[in-house]
């Protein structure tokens, strides 16, 4: 990039052409207050708070590129007074009484008020009341608190790719709306929650966290989401001195997701109300009896010769390695974990690609962040999408081509304009795979069905169902346990307790769930990611790693 010389606060500096004044100032560690500006989003210049003076003229620093001979002053009386006036206008437009706002203390507008020492309203307030949209399961939209910065609109389209939010009307009457002005709960919103994350005021808040306290009352823990194999970077806000999570934000600096999350990663994990296994127990003729960890070890040792061990992809690498080192070649995966066609593109390739073929998977529902990457290209206008599915697929609404799965062969013929598309798939019937293998111009992105499927592969744990007298199961998804012979003695180490398990397993051992233990896993790119321990275990659950280590020592002694 070509360098040019400009003056900032009377100091001559050399800067790169093409950058904005705000970017340059940030690199020089000079503070310019901003409100509508947010790092990964395109600058809009909506709030005018980042005004600076260039040769006597006020310009918005977030949208003005540096140019030769600029003489920029950041803090002249003219600049400061203009910013104060703008803040006064922002505060008196709509309802910005901090007293009756839950966001008070986390509000960027309020912080700016403090920064500029605003101690009263200069103008009388605008008293029109807009109705609040409470139709969404997780999000409240309150236009009365809106400063019309359009961060939500830009985040929803540029970052999350959903293109749900937009504006209506003009001037002071402007409203942020979903789709064609329908209630948010009835719109095409996928509940990714990014709008609530980027909103600087209390205009878009998520229903759970907003009443649970302020950011200063929480510890922020950076972790990777382990709800699926994408492994998005998250910022988890845990209440200080308590054992609950206030909210989960996408980590804007994460290379994987860049701040975007899906409904599962942001909200579902918080509303997890599945019944937990609260202790260890064994079934006998009279029902369940409590069991301590010594007895469990004894029980397993006794059955050591006749058992097979099954694991699923919810386990972390450390746990899998331990299991593998104890039970050696008797360890199998309960579910298929190998790609039918291996991936030959990475997530970064996907973000930059323009042609997508989605086969047999509803990205909006299962892999929301992958859906975001596809949608922001397709809806953004420079991507082509074809969907093949035998069931309802919500991506079909936006795809250029939609086919039934059994039309795959003819369908692929019709996609002439697709030069080298990326095929996104999870699990497909054998004949479909055969058709795909016959095509040469296709690239593939395999979506592993479980979080740590790749970890299972790396440890060479294969999927194979063998009947034996005793089965030891470690993991979360107990669905396939019912396929075993009725006389099989099943010992299940699992965090959740659905009814099927109660009926089928002979010994149930409660272990911690994903938020209560730490470990590493491989995401679909094969990147090694870390899940941090965020909560302390709530019940008398077993520490799986500790238990396995102890068991290993005991069995070595023997």
């Amino acid at each position: 990039m070509e360098k040019i010389k400009i003056k900032i606060n009377d100091n001559e500096v050399e800067v790169e052409q093409g950058k904005t004044i705000l970017q340059v100032a940030k690199e020089l560690n000079l503070h310019i207050p901003t409100l509508c500006y947010l790092e990964p989003l395109s600058p809009q210049g909506a709030c005018r708070l980042c005004l600076v003076e260039d040769r006597g003229k006020l310009v918005t620093s977030c949208t003005t590129p540096v140019a030769p001979n600029m003489d920029i002053k950041l803090d002249t009386p003219n600049v400061v007074n203009s910013r104060k006036l703008i803040l006064q206008l922002l505060f008196t437009e709509r309802n910005h009484y901090c007293m009756y706002c839950e966001q008070s203390g986390n509000c960027e507008l309020q912080n700016l008020g403090y920064e500029f020492g605003l101690d009263h309203f200069e103008f009388s307030t605008y008293e029109k009341k807009f109705s609040i949209d409470n139709s969404h399961d997780y999000i409240i939209m309150d236009p009365n608190r809106c400063v019309l910065c359009r961060r939500c609109v830009r985040a929803c389209s540029e970052l999350a790719g959903h293109f749900v939010l937009g504006e209506m009307n003009r001037g002071i009457e402007t409203l942020i709306i979903a789709d064609m002005n329908v209630p948010l709960g009835e719109s095409s919103c996928t509940s990714c929650g990014l709008c609530a994350q980027v909103c600087p005021t209390g205009a878009i808040v998520d229903k759970r966290s907003v009443y649970l306290g302020k950011d200063v009352q929480t510890d922020i823990i950076y972790s990777n989401c382990n709800e699926c194999a994408v492994g998005c970077g998250t910022k988890v806000y845990k209440k200080k001195n308590s054992n609950f999570i206030v909210k989960i934000y996408g980590d804007m600096d994460s290379e994987i997701n860049g701040g975007v999350l899906c409904k599962i990663g942001r909200f579902s994990a918080l509303f997890d109300e599945k019944p937990r296994v609260i202790s260890s127990k064994i079934k006998d003729d009279f029902g369940f009896r409590k069991l301590d960890s010594d007895k469990i070890m004894k029980l397993i040792s006794e059955k050591m010769d006749e058992l097979y061990v099954y694991v699923d992809g919810s386990l972390f690498n450390e746990e899998l390695e331990l299991i593998k080192s104890i039970f050696k070649d008797k360890v199998y995966s309960l579910y298929p974990n190998e790609p039918q066609i291996p991936s030959n593109v990475t997530l970064n390739d996907l973000k930059n690609a323009n042609e997508f073929i989605v086969i047999g998977v509803d990205l909006n529902r299962e892999f929301g962040v992958i859906g975001s990457f596809v949608k922001r290209k397709v809806l953004g206008g420079d991507g082509k999408l074809a969907v093949f599915d035998s069931n309802f697929n919500s991506l079909a609404q936006i795809s250029h081509y939609t086919f039934n799965l059994n039309e795959l062969k003819d369908g692929l013929e019709k996609l002439k304009e697709f030069k080298s598309p990326i095929v996104i798939y999870k699990e497909l019937p054998k004949d479909i795979i055969e058709i795909l293998k016959g095509k040469e111009n296709l690239k593939y992105l395999w979506l592993p069905p479980e979080t740590n499927s790749i970890g299972l592969n790396k440890l060479n744990i294969k999927h194979e169902i063998k009947n034996s007298k005793t089965i030891l199961f470690f993991g979360e998804n107990i669905e396939a346990l019912k396929n075993f012979d009725k006389n099989t003695f099943i010992i299940a180490f699992t965090p959740y307790e659905p009814e099927d398990l109660l009926r089928r397993a002979n010994v149930i051992v409660g272990i911690s769930n994903g938020f209560e233990r730490d470990g590493t896993f491989y995401n679909l790119d094969g990147k090694l990611l870390k899940k941090e321990k965020i909560l302390s275990p709530k019940f008398e659950t077993l520490d799986l790693k500790k238990f396995l280590n102890e068991f290993k020592n005991v069995s070595l002694v023997k």
């Binding site: 009484y97 007293m99 009756y100 309020q110 008020g113 020492g117 009263h120």
Partner: protein, 180 residues
């Protein structure tokens, strides 16, 4: 030593800001030793301040015609007016009623509340008449200094009074400036 006379009133509010004044504790004595003299205040229970009062402290928003008269009287009798608390400074929580028509509001408050039996809207001529909209004090009279906060901390009030006593212009920054 020249005494500085201070008067205070409260209009539409909860009196929390006056509690915050009392919350200065022994620093109130310190201020009095420095020359502060409490004139007409709810604390001294005098209604009308002297004509040569120096500082008039107003708590609460202007919601009735009585409040309007009172704050105008304060303006006439006091050299400086200090609005304390969110209600006086911004209009505060009482401005919530601005979003509902007045007659509906009175009906809901005095007649339709779940616990009310045979309610009626009070009409005594002794009561102030509600203004159509609740106003912040600076929408009625000129205000010289503002202390926002609900309630403002005793530290903030102490800071402002001390600065005035020492002949400086009080400016609230950092922790002293709070909107809630």
């Amino acid at each position: 030593m020249k005494k500085i006379k201070v008067a205070s009133i409260w209009c539409e509010s909860c009196s929390g800001c006056h509690m915050s004044i009392l919350d200065m504790d022994e620093r109130l004595v310190e201020l009095i030793n420095k020359g502060l003299e409490l004139n007409a205040t709810p604390i001294t229970d005098l209604k009308v301040p002297d004509d040569d009062t120096d500082i008039g402290i107003i708590e609460g928003a202007v919601a009735t015609d009585h409040h309007e008269e009172e704050v105008k009287m304060m303006r006439e009798k006091c050299k400086f007016i200090v609005a304390i608390g969110d209600c006086a400074v911004f209009g505060g929580i009482v401005t919530m009623r601005n979003y509902v028509p007045l007659n509906e509001l009175l009906k809901r408050g005095y007649i339709e509340t779940e616990s009310t039996v045979d309610g009626k809207i009070p009409t005594s001529p002794e009561l102030g008449k509600h203004l159509p909209k609740v106003k912040a004090v600076n929408e009625v009279i000129k205000v010289d200094y503002y202390i926002p906060g609900c309630p403002p901390s005793a530290d903030a009030i102490y800071h402002v009074l001390k600065e005035i006593l020492e002949g400086k212009t009080p400016v609230l920054t950092g922790e002293l400036l709070k909107y809630e």
